[in-house]
Amino acid sequence: MARIVTHAEVAQVPDGGDLLIEPDAELTPLAQERAKARHIRVAVGTPASHEETVSIAARVAEQVLLQLGTHDEAIVSRVASEVLSALNPRQAVHKTPAGIAPHAAPVAMSDLQKARRRAILTSTGRNQKGVVAKLTTLLAELGGDILDISQTLVGDCFTMLIIVDIADMHVGFEELKSALSRLADSMGIYITLMHEDLVRSLHRV
């Protein structure tokens, strides 16, 4: 069972400090909120012992100096201690790459994405040149695959319905929606986007 990090643990870290959690530990929503509010950086990793850190610093210093063509014991130990003091007070922290979100959603989320492969896009407005071109170009650029498209013109107005496969898109659903709404604003037309399964489940028996 993953260890849960609660807000009580976050409360012990000073403002703007670092919180190191084990790879399988997770922060609760309240802990995340508090950490964010107090600018606490959360890193995932295992704490290294002081001896390990000292020996790593000495080894790295030695190798770097060798490459530079000097091999003076005194200089090596001086560089190593400089590095150690620069690391201080966090010298015992051996971090994995920064930026790992503690709440990163695991595998289950991608299942969720797959279940919603297709979206229905509707567009209406005053007819103008390039409506279809601009819309389809935007979808293609973002990695969408158009499965079906229909357009009707009544006088000056058009209505368009596009079914698009969004499984392989480079952007999330929300981003796609906002990209479309920016396009809609620039062209003075109206665009809606929703998952096909929502429409299907509400209107089909």
């Binding site: 309240l30 319905l161 509400l202």
Partner: protein, 459 residues
């Protein structure tokens, strides 16, 4: 093309202007594995298990909600009735367990956690007695914990001893939260035939027949039904009540489908251990205008909710909602029907204000709706035996008609009939309703059990 523009527009309209939402996704968590013989140990295990099991509930629900554009208003937790979990500790108070539940809910970013409950329809065990005793302090010292007590079933009859106790518990709880209008009582429900999978607080709990983790969904949508009926009336054609029932049924179908779809997605997002349970399709009002059950009744031509004809209109509404829901999903459960929480429904409060809706009429309405006397404010000096008798009346409607009924009554301290009390938020505002001045002390003090009705003999 298998879809048309009107269909997608209809969905947008439902979401954007008619308040279509998923009222709650409620994760039911079994705490049976957390019972130990030591109170501190039980609290520790309970806390760890809840926080572990529900750690991603809020984030997954938000993700699904954003992806579909349908709001999921509340994320909540229901647990195994605490009387069962607490009994092995032998403790004389379960208040520490309630406080543990409260801390877990706070940690998870959840507004209510329900299941500080006991099932006493036939008898009261040591653990049940401790829980009943603990209710006033537990609810007065926590913000998020909700409690429910099942005092009757159609199969077992009505436990009048338990009902007599509840009258006292409610009075003490009201006094313990007197500075906030007796708000503690808004978190306590007394049930007949309590469902095991109801996702709506305050009456939610994770029934003993349930699995480890179950996600139940409560959908609502009085606004959607209201707009559909308004469009029907404005269509200009001659409309009768059969058309009304048909329209409600169709809207209930759509609302339920939306609920099931999102509920399934949330359950899937929470991982393999979580099973999707049921959709509870209940027209649950909020204090927002246009999100009112009373307004639906009034659009059917009733000048005010509570006038003669209200029970018939509510019967039609509740039945049509159930029929639409049953067609839409094979997993309809919980309370499913129409809620009439007085303080939470803007137009119902207005009806009380002008004297159209009385406690007696409300009681009649509960014979055909899905819950009971819900969020009803009565004078603070109402004697406990009168409260018990009000509960007994309501509970007998459920027991003898093979349905769920419940009472959530608030004797508002220092307030008399006609005065207003503000609970705030979703709990709304209540007008104190008068009760009968004749106190049924003798009847309530008889105690014992009202035997199960003859309809219970079904085998």
């Amino acid at each position: 093309m298998i879809f048309d523009l009107e269909e997608t527009r209809a969905i947008l309209r439902m979401i954007e202007t008619e308040h279509l939402d998923i009222r709650t996704v409620t994760l039911g968590i079994s705490l049976r594995g957390c019972a130990t013989s030591d109170l501190a140990g039980t609290c520790r295990r309970t806390y760890d298990h809840i926080v572990h099991s529900a750690k991603r509930l809020v984030s997954v629900a938000n993700e699904v909600s954003a992806a579909y554009g349908v709001p999921i208003v509340n994320k909540r937790i229901a647990v195994t009735p605490i009387a069962l979990v607490g009994e092995p500790t032998g403790a004389s108070s379960y208040v520490p367990i309630a406080q543990t539940l409260d801390r877990a809910a706070e940690e998870l970013g959840i507004d209510y956690i329900a299941g500080f409950s006991a099932l006493v329809e036939k008898g009261i065990t040591q653990g049940d007695a401790v829980l009943l005793d603990s209710i006033p302090e537990a609810l007065a010292t926590t913000a998020r914990v909700c409690s429910s007590v099942n005092v009757a079933t159609t199969r077992a009859g009505i436990n009048m001893d338990a009902i007599a106790t509840m009258g006292h518990v409610i009075s003490v709880l009201a006094q313990a939260t007197a500075d906030r209008g007796g708000i503690g009582c808004a978190k306590l429900v007394t049930f007949a035939n309590m469902p095991e999978d109801n996702p709506f607080v305050a009456g939610a709990n994770h029934g003993i027949g349930e699995g480890d983790l179950t996600l139940n969904v409560g959908v609502s949508g009085p606004g959607v039904v209201l707009s559909a009926l308004r469009r029907l009336r404005e269509s200009g054609r001659k409309v009768n009540l059969t058309d009304v029932a048909e329209t409600i049924k169709r809207m209930a179908f759509k609302v339920t489908r939306a609920g099931e779809l999102l509920g399934q997605q949330v359950a899937r997002g929470l991982g393999e251990r979580v099973r999707f349970g049921i959709v509870d399709l209940s027209l649950a009002p909020t204090p927002a205008r246009g999100d009112s059950v009373a307004e639906i009744l009034e659009i059917l031509g009733l000048p005010r909710t509570g006038c003669h004809g209200t029970t018939a209109a509510l019967a039609l509404l509740t039945d049509a909602v159930k029929k639409g829901g049953a067609m839409a999903s094979s997993s309809v459960g919980g309370l499913s029907g129409a809620f009439i929480p007085v303080s939470e429904d803007h137009d119902m409060v207005s009806a009380v204000k002008v004297g159209a809706l009385s406690l007696d009429k409300l009681e009649a309405m509960t014979a055909v709706c899905s819950v009971g006397l819900d969020m009803v404010a009565v004078p603070g000096n109402t004697p406990p035996s009168t409260i018990s008798a009000i509960i007994a009346d309501e509970i007998s409607i459920g027991t003898f008609n093979n349905k769920t009924t419940a009472v959530r009554i608030i004797p508002v301290p220092n307030r008399g009939p006609g005065e207003t009390v503000e609970f705030g938020g979703l709990l709304g505002q209540a007008i104190v309703m008068p009760v009968s001045p004749f106190v049924p002390d003798g009847f309530v003090s008889l105690g014992g059990r009202i035997p199960a009705p003859v309809i219970s003999l079904r085998n």
